[in-house]
């Protein structure tokens, strides 16, 4: 087995509900529960799911914007595996040099009072890298790399003087300026015009190859995942229900939820007819979910067995294709 860059084991995050001033909460939101996945270096893993599935929470956990309730996140640093879930404040700063994040909203992820230079240089400033001149050079380098050329004309502009696509490029430049090994991208194109999305995604791929960056690409759009990622994990209500190489997953989806997702993607060819896979209702609440299979309420093929037993574990059904279902 080749070396793995990121290995997530049993990761969980529960949010307490209505904490009173003095009492501890009895109810919890199970945002993410018992996640397990791996990402190889240089690979792009897509994390797909609908709103409320916990994918953004997962992203935040991986960059330690949130602290995990349980579980481990192993990051390969200098040949060793470090559990970043247990890092304390002082050690976090060093860790931050390795893991960065690109946010969803290009309008709000940049401070409107700071210039492009200030924004992209901020990680350098915080990590204490180089002096002002070095930073200017590096920022110019990054801006050129993300396609904002000539850099000198963009450096001292303000966010409101840029278009959405340009802002997101700035965000990408900022994320990559300190040479991280791992980047979590939280739906970076979902707030951009459709026409620009491809160019941004292409840029990200190109940068991944050039700089050897590994991505966790969070999205709700299967088409995007197909374009960007070698492997895809599908999340539902805080758990991964299926995980496989992209093409394999799209051609041979095994889990009923994945199948429903795929069948919901429209195909612009009126001659092709498919059987739509209907699932009932909408995503239930993640507060104190019962211990059975999370998909039980909406699953078209659920049986009594599925109700009585705990949520099925992820099992390899052959060739690295994992599914969490009793009936497959």
């Amino acid at each position: 087995m080749s070396e793995v860059l990121v290995r997530v084991e049993g990761l969980s995050k529960f949010f307490p509900l209505t904490r009173g001033l003095f009492r501890e909460s009895r109810d919890f939101i199970h945002a993410v529960e018992d996640l397990n996945f791996m990402i190889a270096p240089g690979e792009s893993l897509g994390l797909v799911g609908e709103s409320g599935s916990g994918k953004t929470t997962t992203g935040k956990l991986l960059v330690r914007l949130l602290d995990p309730t349980a579980g481990h996140i192993y990051l390969r640093t200098d040949g060793r595996e470090v559990d970043i879930a247990t890092l304390r404040k002082k050690e976090l700063k060093a860790f931050r040099r390795q893991v960065q994040m690109i946010f969803q909203d290009p309008y709000e992820s940049l401070n409107p009072r700071l210039t492009v230079f200030d924004t992209v240089a901020e990680p350098l400033v915080v990590q204490g890298i180089g002096n002002v001149l070095d930073r200017e050079e590096r920022v110019a380098e990054m801006l050129a790399m993300v396609g904002l050329t000539p850099p000198s004309s963009f450096m001292f502009r303000f966010p409101h003087e840029l278009s959405g696509g340009q802002r997101q490029r700035v965000a990408i430049a900022r994320a990559l300026v300190i040479n991280p090994t791992f980047v979590v991208a939280d739906e970076p194109t979902s707030m951009l015009d459709v026409s620009i999305r491809t160019s941004i995604m292409y840029l990200m791929q190109e940068l991944a190859q050039r700089l050897g960056v590994t991505y966790l690409y969070i999205t709700h759009d299967l088409a995007v995942a197909r374009y960007m990622c070698q492997r895809v994990a599908v999340m539902y209500l805080g758990k991964i229900v299926e995980q496989a190489e992209t093409e394999e997953l799209l051609q041979h989806p095994l889990h009923p939820y994945t199948r429903a997702l795929i069948s919901a993607v429209p195909i612009p060819d009126p001659r092709i007819k498919r059987q739509p896979m209907e699932i009932k209702g909408s995503i239930p609440t993640p507060i104190n979910p019962p211990p059975r299979c999370r998909f039980y309420d909406r699953c078209p093929i659920a049986t009594g067995f599925c109700e009585e037993n705990p949520h099925p574990p992820l099992e390899d059904k052959g060739g690295g294709h994992y599914v969490a279902c009793y009936l497959v």
């Binding site: 976090l92 700063k93 969803q104 401070n111 009072r113 915080v126 990590q127």
Partner: protein
């Protein structure tokens, strides 16, 4: 390539200058500043100390006192024979002292508490807010009036107490709200992911948004402090040697609200000065408020 990134940090100041009240207010403040600075100059050069000293001067030629305006005394003299213009200019110093000290203390206190409460959250937040709630119930002018009766207040102590009372009250609460609204924006998260610690985030991101509003409260506090000082001095409850308020007090105890014309003439300059001074700061504050509340793009 120069670092022009600092420009937008001060943009709000330029905006204030573009606002009619902002300009008017700042001009007035400048005018009063000039007055305060001119006084020692005049005393050292043109004016005869014996006659024009604001406290102990006396002009034997312009009897009876208070005298109406003349060439020697453009604003006349007060009941004790002292030149009113000299007093007015000297009083500007007191007003600036009181206003500045009160304003700065208010701004610093309110910002420190508001930002800390917003950033720390949890129990620190609750405690600080409960503390501020108490101070909201204690309006500075009223409390000062009472303290003035019990303690000997001079300009400095009055201003300091005013700043303390004002800064710990509603300004802190408002600034906390502003800081909170900034803290939840994604670029703060981005800064944290980049490795920024609390200090960095506060200094780099929170403060630039909050400081214009701190300035707002600074101006209101300055205005209120000078007004309070005037009222207290008017009732004779301060130990200030000379301020516009004491000028009014002195005239008042001499004339007891009688409609004598001399009383009017002696009263007008300090009253107008107080009003203009306070409204100058107030105007600047209003200008800041009106220009800073626009969204930043």
């Amino acid at each position: 390539m120069g670092r022009r990134s600092g420009r937008k940090r001060w943009l709000w100041l330029w905006r204030v200058l573009g606002h009619p009240w902002g300009v008017a207010g700042l001009l007035l403040i400048g005018l009063f500043g000039l007055m305060a600075l001119i006084h020692p100059l005049l005393m050292a050069t043109v004016w005869n100390r014996a006659i024009y000293h604001p406290l102990v001067g006396f002009d034997p030629d312009a009897v009876p006192h208070p005298a109406p305006p003349s060439w020697q005394h453009p604003l006349g003299t007060d009941p004790m024979g002292r030149d009113v213009l000299s007093q007015l200019l000297y009083g500007a110093r007191t007003s600036f002292l009181v206003g500045t000290v009160a304003g700065v203390i208010t701004a610093i206190l309110a910002t420190a508490i508001g930002v800390t409460a917003a950033y720390a959250g949890g129990w620190a937040d609750t405690v600080l807010m409960a503390l501020c709630d108490v101070f909201v119930l204690m309006p500075p002018p009223v409390i000062l009036l009472i303290l003035g009766l019990l303690l000997d207040l001079n300009g400095l102590s009055l201003a300091a107490i005013y700043g303390l009372l004002a800064g710990l009250g509603s300004p802190a609460i408002v600034l906390r709200a502003h800081a909170l609204s900034v803290r939840v924006r994604p670029f703060v998260d981005a800064a944290r992911v980049a490795g920024g610690g609390s200090l960095h985030i506060i200094w780099y991101h929170l403060l630039p948004f909050v400081v214009p509003f701190s300035m707002l409260f600074l101006t209101f506090a300055a205005s209120g402090a000078v007004l309070s000082e005037a009222i207290l001095s008017f009732f004779g409850r301060t130990q200030i040697r000379l301020s516009w308020g004491t000028m009014i007090w002195f005239t008042q105890i001499t004339f007891r609200w009688s409609p004598a014309r001399e009383a009017w003439l002696a009263l007008l300059p300090p009253v107008i000065a107080i009003s203009l001074f306070c409204s100058a700061f107030y105007m600047v504050g209003r200008a800041i408020e009106e220009t800073s509340l626009e969204p930043y793009s």
